[in-house]
């Protein structure tokens, strides 16, 4: 397979991605189509293109490993893990949404600095633990959440997990990205030590923590103001109704 096929024709694949998203088509369809278009534009034969698609698909199968924890989480959820997480966290009287999320951010960054990337994540920690805990602390301190507020609190919990894992990675231990950078430079005839590369992730790690923490604090302040404004309206009677920890949806 020649690595450098001529010209700009294969860029049509990038165009497919951009246009496909603008038209809101299914991402799986867009990505497969983009690969086919690029391959055809570069003059690959159908046989070559299919073989290349198939081999590359098999070679990237480690990306499915996140699904390994789904059965455990599912079994625990069926037995009430989310409900218990919500009640348990509500027992910490001085815990606020901001403290909970900033604490989680710090923990996630430190763990992933030491290479422990897969021990938390959306299926294994955010859905069963962090999201229900965030809702429970927010509603205890600020009053019952409406649908919109609940959605935003959950989304912030997910965003916090992402920021934590992205910008903790690779500071101390040479893991995925650092090794990729080192291998790339090696191939270009530049020889660097992994630790030399890794240490430069520290400024970004600190900046990410400071920026995202500040945003969490601002989010909480805004949420408090919004819920307070709603509580001041005539319909305040419903806001005072007792059950603050209603279960979110049916999990279907």
């Amino acid at each position: 397979m020649t690595a450098h096929v001529t010209g700009y024709a294969p860029l049509l694949g990038v165009a497919v991605v951009v246009v496909g998203f603008a038209l809101k088509r299914n991402p799986v369809l867009i990505v497969v189509l983009a690969g086919l278009v690029s391959g055809v534009a570069a003059g690959l034969s159908p046989g070559d293109l299919l073989a290349r698609l198939g081999t590359a698909f098999v070679e990237s199968r480690t990306l499915l490993l996140f699904a390994l924890t789904l059965p455990v989480i599912g079994v625990l959820e069926r037995a009430g893990l989310r409900e218990h997480a919500r009640r348990w966290i509500a027992g910490f009287a001085r815990l606020t949404l901001a403290r909970l999320l900033i604490g989680y951010l710090a923990l996630r960054q430190v763990l992933s600095m030491f290479g422990l990337i897969h021990i938390a994540g959306h299926p294994q920690t955010v859905r069963p633990l962090l999201a229900p805990m965030s809702e429970a602390t927010a509603s205890r301190a600020l009053g019952p959440l409406d649908d919109d507020a609940r959605e935003r609190v959950r989304a912030l919990a997910a965003a916090t997990d992402n920021v934590g894992v992205f910008f903790g990675e690779d500071v101390f231990l040479a893991f995925g990205a650092v090794l990729l950078i080192q291998r790339f430079y090696d191939g270009q005839g530049l020889h660097l030590e992994p630790t030399q590369i890794a240490i430069w992730a520290l400024p970004t790690a600190i900046a990410a923590f400071v920026i995202h923490s500040a945003r969490i604090v601002v989010f909480q302040a805004r949420l408090r103001r919004r819920l307070a404004a709603r509580g001041a309206e005539p319909s305040a009677s419903s806001a005072a109704s007792p059950p603050p920890h209603e279960p979110p949806g049916t999990g279907a």
């Binding site: 009430g80 997910a158 990205a177």
Partner: protein, 337 residues
Amino acid sequence: MLTLSHVFLLLGALFLGAAILNLRERRWATAGFWAIVAVPLVAGDPILAAAKAGTRWPAQAMGAGVIALAVLATLGGRGGRRAPGAAAIAAANAAAIDAAAIDAAREASASRLRGWLFVPALAIPAIMIAVLRGAPYLTLRGAPLIDPAQVPLIALGLAATLALILALVVTRSQPIHGLTEGRRLLDSIGWAAVLPMLLATLGTVFTATGVGDAIAHLVGAVIPTDSRIACLVAYGLGMVVFTAIMGNAFAAFPVMTAGIGLPLLVHGHGANPAALGSLGMLTGYCGTLLTPMAANFNVVPVLLLELRDEYSVIRMQWPTAIALIATNLIVMSMVLF
């Protein structure tokens, strides 16, 4: 010796199980989807071995499978929504009554088991750390029990299996519930589960067809190369944009660094390559925060948390991403030269 192949087989069994359960409920598209996804896990090693030996039809069949995935995903890989008939409405009402009963049972179970519910969940990280630390000492007659090249991922597989057994014991569930509950979560994630794999596949196709070189050429042709700040901004923003398109900074890094970083910044303006690589990659990560293409980070949580707006998570992330991009560019302009 325990290798990554064993972990793949285990995971393949989960996907095949999900396919069979969907098949029994006549959800053909979803069943077909998970069956195809199981193939690289169950038969991946023979496919790669055959391709290496020059037999290409298994890889080509897998390629056809990838195209089939795209078709099945558009047919409603998330359980398929049809117009509700009278029977469907009746079924939905029955399901709502069921759901209320299940909710009550969950609450009761939560009150009974309390802190025990956290034990299997926390066992996952605990077992992973134990395996990571202990792997060098786990030997049988001098041979390692765990493939030393793949310890972290094998540790994840071991931790997930042991934690599942623990969870079944603690909650007194039937073993089949591991499969039915895993399938429930898989179905709720749907096509987003395979998007990262398909993007990685697209990345290798782009590399092979010279897309990266074409982009690097284009960018190199439009920026004033004698200004180091212009080169730096082009490199940083190039990482962000290309990462957003590919959904993955790992795909953007070689393209942008070979096209702009090395020739213009390192060789042209004497930039420190270690700092450039690290900060450049992390600037790319900011692009990951911005794009629905990074499905495992930005789309999977939307589905898992049952959010209504598919861009909810990205909306929460973009201000952090923009501030970090600016910070990284400023840091790079101070430390690189």
